[in-house]
């Protein structure tokens, strides 16, 4: 079916909330039929939000042909670039890329775009005519929207009227034989220009400094600061100041941000889109869980989703609204990054239990809009005087804080008559209006008594400490923890599935917090226990104070009872306080429970005694293999002081959310600056022989023990990248079809179970792998023994052997020796492939504009060294291609010499990291691989723990042996001897495990070639495929052609340069692909037309790789990000899509990959090959999805698909056979 939309891009004033915060220079897409109306309404309402001013959401069915007449009324050429769709890149790309015709539209002009939408899902669109990251750019100002594509045969109605709907963020979707569902658009966006009612930049009332950047949903945000004004000025509830109270509708009425309305049990989809330009957010939705990939029933269950710019996810809550237990009330939906949450990036899912026909009112007198029941669902009962339904049975008082829940609080109140009428059959503490354990009346009940306390926590041996640590602790351990007998660690409680869990939570926190260099003095008079994943009654049990719900927290000294049920085995369920989370969660107020398989019991790994809690335990099961259960919590914004009481990385002013403090893992850190004992060489920073074991967790196991690593982020705002050297796991634990990985991006509140094992005895280095995290001490070890030792029980299903005393070497500052012999990780029959690699200094030319790194260090194949040094061959990051089944022998020779490092004095000033300190450049070198099988003691490429030396000194050669047991695709390679002075200079590369029997050919000469970034892969059974390597990297220090230092991002921003202190440490540095960049500023200097920034007609081809193919050529992109910063990226390729997991044919199909951060790997096998579904020629842009600051800074290039045969590019075999 053909669908037609006339869309106009217009300048518009966007009012973001009822307080009059607005963007005077907003831009939006609007349907032509609404253009006049929207302009009139905005003119009439300059300081209140206008409903029509929302991101444009249009709908279609799979298989439809979409025609968009696009009209531009903005003062620059603009367009619509549609993600996920199939189209002709020459006329419908919404961009001007390479040698394509422009599909941008000048001011006052029109064009017609044609799209084919072949798959149901979300098709975000945005502008590429003005990719500036400044306040002048289009995306930051609102020029985005989305097309929602439904299953074939669907239709949609207005949720209020039941009538037809042409656009809008909410709709009810119907189908002849599938259930109707609620559809909600949830478009995160950030960095929008915002003025307050007075036309000035909003001020944070607590700090009297400028407010945080705007973090919004669907052009709306509801910041704490605004609502606090009403409290401070006594307009509402003068007594109830507090962080969480700003989510309380009893006090303030409903927020301006989206309220997703439905009835209990309604099927629903939240179409989550990141239309913003910069941050990687974490979407979290209370009370509900969903499959990470809704199209795949094997996918893992999640309740938080990291989302990087220009990416999207469909969130389908399992069991419908209210989840399995049928919870009613308000489930808050928010970005879990606390500074964003506080800045207003939240809304609610409101679940009614009675029919709303438009005649009812909220407690504050606001009319409840009608809500049509879904036609195939039972009609909810009409509200009556005795049973008025949510929220009108709750005994609250508008203008005052929400009431506390009945029954749960010790010494608290019982039920009112209205509450009794609304309650379940057997209301009890923690289960009043929904019965989480009612499914299984026989379920065993386990109660944990937990308190939140304040105590000083010492983070490392250098005396870094948090004098105001706040943690959860079991009541039975209170004395031991407070007396120092038991080391504080995040509380992890262990429970089998099918258990009814009760928590008696006591708030023992002091009523005040802060009042120091980091934080403002704050009353923290109430606390709660908010949990993820489990089933519970959201109204009384959320540990929060949200919407028209109860305030399910307690005052200092009070105890409240909660009840939860684990219906199935889960990973770690995260818990934390929700009342003052932005203020003190980074002090340690987080923990987790782990829901193990039914019938599991838990033992202390040292003694074998039964335990109920611990970050390192042994789980024993009568049927399935026993396993070690290991928990790691990463933290940022960790507010520490050094031994002398000096604050570490304090913010510019107390209360600033601008990345205060440093980092921790399980309340510990082991910074590398203190790991320079012995020879003082960074190459031995991880060596326990030289520096002793770290204070961070050193987990213990035996070789071959199943391990389940529970990975959680406890605090507070940033992305992290977890990596275990020498181990790997399936990307989604329950789904064995997913790919192997050895790295995981994590944002706050996400939870992952990584199921793995130690294949060899030795010390496995785990890290949070981005440079600043690792530098500041986020690493530790997993120590695998091959013989039973005292102090570590053996798994009960293993043959029990007599343990020997555990005798570890004494650290003496002397580096370990190299291994005399390296065990072969493969069988003797495995073919051996040898690579001779040398690391040496060579200046790297990053662009045709003379931007270069004079201090580059590369890994190169021995036979290429002369050509590279003589300038005959342009260096690329090291590429090793190996066939599955082969064993690899690496001989790495070190040709580094003193005097070639930019900062020989040992302090690297730019790009910087927090806590700069002396760390002299190492002259040693190593090469660490991901995903291979190897003996960690000799061949993992880092000298960690009590392993052998795995680095080569100057002039030396070190050997490694790796077994490529299957075709796992792309894996990263990087040096581990000096993460500060080496990596961003170029010491990284990629190893690709190809299918067995592959031959690699040069795409031009068809001769053997396995080292180039573009090759043809030939295989006896598989199609000939073009393979392109993209090494995405950042943190680069470049100089311009005159030798002047380039300070990115500031120097690369298009338009007015912003203040430099806007940039976080981890934003610093230049970036690109494969030692190349194409910074747009250089193009803008040549010509001021922003529409031509990607045009090869105007500027020639970019310096970044231009890959070449013919229409329909099978293409695989091997994408890695081995280096080095914490700002996550998205990868996008116009006009193409692929399976999100290359190994899993049933995985969802998408046109982006991300979030991408150090250690990320991906294999993008383009559906339908080059040129996409239509197989059309043209220039297809590949790029980062981050408008701020990646695209500007050169993270883009071109996939060129030729229509006609080119002399220099022979066709693939299949083309030869059928030249048409």
């Amino acid at each position: 079916m053909k669908r037609f939309f006339h869309i106009v891009a217009i300048p518009i004033r966007i009012v973001l909330n009822q307080f009059g915060d607005h963007n005077p220079n907003g831009m939006m897409y609007v349907l032509k039929e609404n253009e006049r109306k929207v302009k009139r309404l905005v003119k009439k309402n300059p300081f209140t939000p206008v409903e029509l001013v929302q991101p444009l959401i249009i709908r279609a069915n799979a298989g439809d042909d979409i025609e968009i007449l696009f009209e531009n009324k903005l003062p620059f050429p603009a367009g619509i670039h549609m993600e996920e769709a199939d189209y002709d890149v020459m006329d419908s790309d919404g961009a001007e890329v390479g040698f394509n015709h422009s599909s941008l539209v000048k001011k006052g002009k029109k064009t017609t775009y044609h799209f084919k939408v072949n798959r149901p899902g979300t098709y975000p669109f945005s502008d590429l005519g003005n990719p500036s990251s400044t306040e002048k750019g289009s995306n930051g100002n609102g020029l985005f929207g989305a097309l929602f594509v439904q299953k074939r045969g669907s239709w949609w109605t207005h949720p209020e009227t039941g009538g037809p709907i042409t656009s809008g963020p909410f709709a009810d979707i119907h189908h002849p034989f599938l259930p109707s569902f609620r559809e909600y658009a949830w478009l995160f966006h950030d960095e929008m220009e915002t003025d307050d009612l007075t036309g000035n930049k909003p001020i944070n009332l607590m700090t009297n400094e400028q407010s945080e950047s705007t973090h919004a949903v669907n052009y709306r945000y509801e910041p704490l600061g605004n609502r606090k004004k009403l409290v401070d000025e006594g307009v509402v509830c003068p007594e109830c100041d507090g962080e969480e109270v700003h989510h309380d509708s009893w006090v303030f009425g409903d927020p301006a941000t989206p309220i997703l309305r439905g009835y209990k049990g309604d099927p629903a989809v939240v179409r989550l889109v990141h239309s913003g330009v910069k941050e990687t957010h974490v979407f979290h939705y209370h009370v509900h869980q969903w499959l990470k990939d809704p199209s795949n029933a094997d996918a893992e269950i999640i309740d938080a989703q990291s989302i990087s710019p220009q990416s999207w996810y469909d969130i389908e809550p399992l069991y419908g609204l209210g989840s399995m237990q049928g919870s009613i009330g308000d489930a808050i939906v928010h970005c879990h990054l606390y500074p964003h949450f506080e800045a207003g990036m939240w809304g609610m899912n409101r679940i009614f239990d009675t029919l709303q026909d438009g005649t009812q009112y909220y407690p504050d007198g606001t009319r409840i809009k009608a809500l049509q029941p879904l036609p195939d669902r039972p009609k909810p009962p009409k509200p009556t005087k005795d049973k008025p339904g949510f929220p009108n049975f709750i005994p609250g008082k508008p203008g005052f804080k929400a009431p506390r829940p009945p029954l749960g609080i010790e010494g608290g109140r019982g039920l009112t008559q209205l509450e009794k009428n609304a309650a379940i059959e057997n209301p009890r503490p923690g289960a009043v209006f929904a019965d989480p354990c009612g499914f299984n009346p026989e379920a065993p009940i386990v109660e944990y008594r937990v308190s939140a306390i304040e105590l000083p926590i010492i983070y490392n041996r250098q005396g870094w400490h948090d004098p105001k640590g706040r943690i959860f602790v079991l009541d039975e351990d209170l004395e031991a923890v407070l007396s120092g007998e038991k080391e504080p660690e995040p509380l992890v409680i262990h429970t089998p599935a099918g258990t009814c869990v009760r928590i008696a939570f006591t708030n023992l926190l002091p009523e005040i917090a802060g009042g120091d260099v980091f934080q403002m003095f704050t009353r923290t008079y109430e606390a709660g226990f908010h949990i993820h994943f489990m089933k519970f009654d959201g109204l009384v049990n959320d540990g929060a104070n949200v919407g028209w719900n109860y305030d399910s927290s307690v005052l200092t000294g009070q105890t409240i009872h909660y009840e939860y049920y684990a219906d199935v085995e889960l990973k770690a369920w995260f818990y934390h306080d929700h009342l003052f989370a932005a203020h003190y969660q980074q002090h340690g107020v987080f923990g987790s429970g782990v829901i193990h398989p039914r019938f599991t019991t838990f033992l202390d790994s040292k003694t074998g005694e039964p335990v109920v809690e611990g970050t390192e335990i042994t789980a024993v099961h009568p049927l399935i293999p026993d396993y070690r259960d290991l928990s790691l919590f990463v933290q940022d914004f960790t507010l520490l002081y050094n031994r002398d009481g000096k604050p570490i990385q304090p913010p510019d002013y107390p209360g600033s959310q601008d990345d205060p403090g440093v980092f921790g893992v399980n309340y510990k850190c082991e910074p590398l600056q203190f790991r320079l004992k012995g020879p003082g060489d960074p190459a031995y920073s991880f060596s326990s022989y030289v520096n002793g074991d770290p204070i961070t967790p050193v987990f213990k196991c035996y070789k071959g023990d199943p391990l389940r690593i529970r990975l959680i982020q406890g605090a507070q705002e940033e992305s992290h990248s977890f990596h275990v050297h020498g181990m790997r796991w399936k990307a989604e634990r329950p789904d064995v079809e997913t790919r192997f990985e050895s790295q995981k991006h994590i944002g706050i509140s996400e939870s992952f179970t990584l199921e793995t094992l130690a294949t060899h005895a030795g010390d496995y280095l785990w890290t949070f792998a981005t440079e600043e995290d690792l530098w500041n001490g986020l690493w530790g070890l997993i120590r695998a023994f091959d013989e039973p030792v005292e102090g570590l029980i053996q798994l009960t299903d293993q043959k029990q052997r007599h343990p020997v005393p555990l005798l570890l070497p004494e650290p003496d500052g002397i580096p370990p020796v190299k291994a005399a012999e390296i065990d072969r990780p493969a069988s003797a029959e495995a073919p051996l492939r040898r690579f001779d690699i040398t690391a040496f200094h060579v200046p790297l030319n990053y662009s045709k504009y003379g931007e270069h790194d004079p201090y580059g260090i590369v890994f190169a194949h021995k036979e290429d060294i002369d050509a590279i040094l003589n300038g005959l061959k342009a260096p690329e990051p090291l590429i090793l291609r190996v066939n599955a089944g082969e064993e690899v022998e690496i001989h790495l020779t070190n040709a580094l010499t003193p005097g070639h490092f930019p900062f020989e004095d040992g302090v690297w000033p730019y790009p910087e990291v927090k806590e700069q300190a002396f760390y002299p450049p190492s002259l040693r070198i190593s090469l660490h691989p991901q995903l291979v099988l190897a003996d960690v003691k000799t061949s993992s490429g880092e000298t960690a723990g009590f392993n052998f030396d795995q680095s080569a000194g100057p002039g030396e050669t070190i050997a490694y042996r790796w077994y490529i047991d299957h075709a796992f695709g792309a894996s990263g390679l990087w040096d581990m001897t000096d993460i500060r002075n080496h990596r961003s200079l170029g010491t990284f590369g990629i190893l690709i495990a190809e299918p067995r029997g592959s031959e690699m050919l040069d795409p031009v000469y068809l001769t053997e070639e396995n080292k180039a970034s573009s090759i043809v892969l030939k295989h006896p059974f598989l199609p000939e495929t073009r393979e392109y390597v993209l090494v995405m990297h950042d943190g680069v220090r470049l100089e311009d052609k005159k030798g002047n230092l380039i300070i990115d991002p500031a120097d690369g921003i298009l338009g007015e340069t912003e203040e430099e202190d806007l940039f976080d440490t981890y934003d610093q540095g230049s970036r690109g692909f494969n030692y190349r960049t194409e910074r747009l500023i250089r193009r803008l200097e040549r010509h001021e037309e922003t529409a031509w920034l990607f045009s090869s007609k105007a500027h020639g081809d970019p310096s970044t790789p231009v890959f070449e193919a013919y229409p329909g050529d099978p293409v695989t992109i091997r994408l890695v990000n081995p280096s080095e910063r914490r700002r996550a990226h998205t990868f996008r390729l116009h006009g193409h899509y692929w399976n999100a997991d290359a190994m899993d044919l049933t995985s969802e199909v998408k046109s982006f990959d991300g979030p991408i951060i150090t250690g990320h790997t991906a294999d993008l096998k383009l559906h339908y090959g080059a040129g996409g579904w239509y197989g059309l020629s043209g220039d297809y842009l590949y790029r980062s999805g981050n408008i701020r600051w990646d695209i500007e800074l050169g993270m883009w290039g071109i996939l060129r698909v030729y229509k006609r045969m080119q002399k220099h590019l022979p066709p693939l075999e299949m083309k030869k056979a059928d030249p048409k």
């Binding site: 379920a443 429970t495 099918g498 258990t499 039914r598 838990f602």
Partner: protein, 96 residues
């Protein structure tokens, strides 16, 4: 009479084997939810085994009779004299 094919002989043999162990405790695994069953074999009807199921993956589906299509069982084990016993799975809330 038509001779049985090898597949038919295999299927008949399975039915026969399960029938012979009526009253014994069986562990059966299937590829579909709830994946595993432990219980006493009550009897075999045609190619279905009727199990008095004590344990499955989720408590809500226990302590009832299940009719399992024998040819949908991918892995099974039947307790016999002299062979290891199927573990007794107790729900204790994890405290051993």
């Amino acid at each position: 009479m038509k001779a049985l094919s090898s597949n038919e002989r295999h299927e008949e043999g399975l039915i026969q084997f399960v029938s012979e162990h009526a009253g014994a405790k069986m562990l059966a695994m299937t590829s579909s939810f709830p994946y595993f069953f432990i219980g006493r074999i009550i009897k075999v009807m045609d190619d279905y085994v009727i199990l008095s199921v004590e344990t499955t993956n989720v408590a809500e589906l226990e302590n009832r009779e299940w009719h399992l299509h024998i040819h949908d069982i991918e892995v099974f084990y039947i307790e016999r004299d002299g062979w290891p016993a199927i573990p007794d799975l107790k729900e204790t809330g994890g405290d051993g």
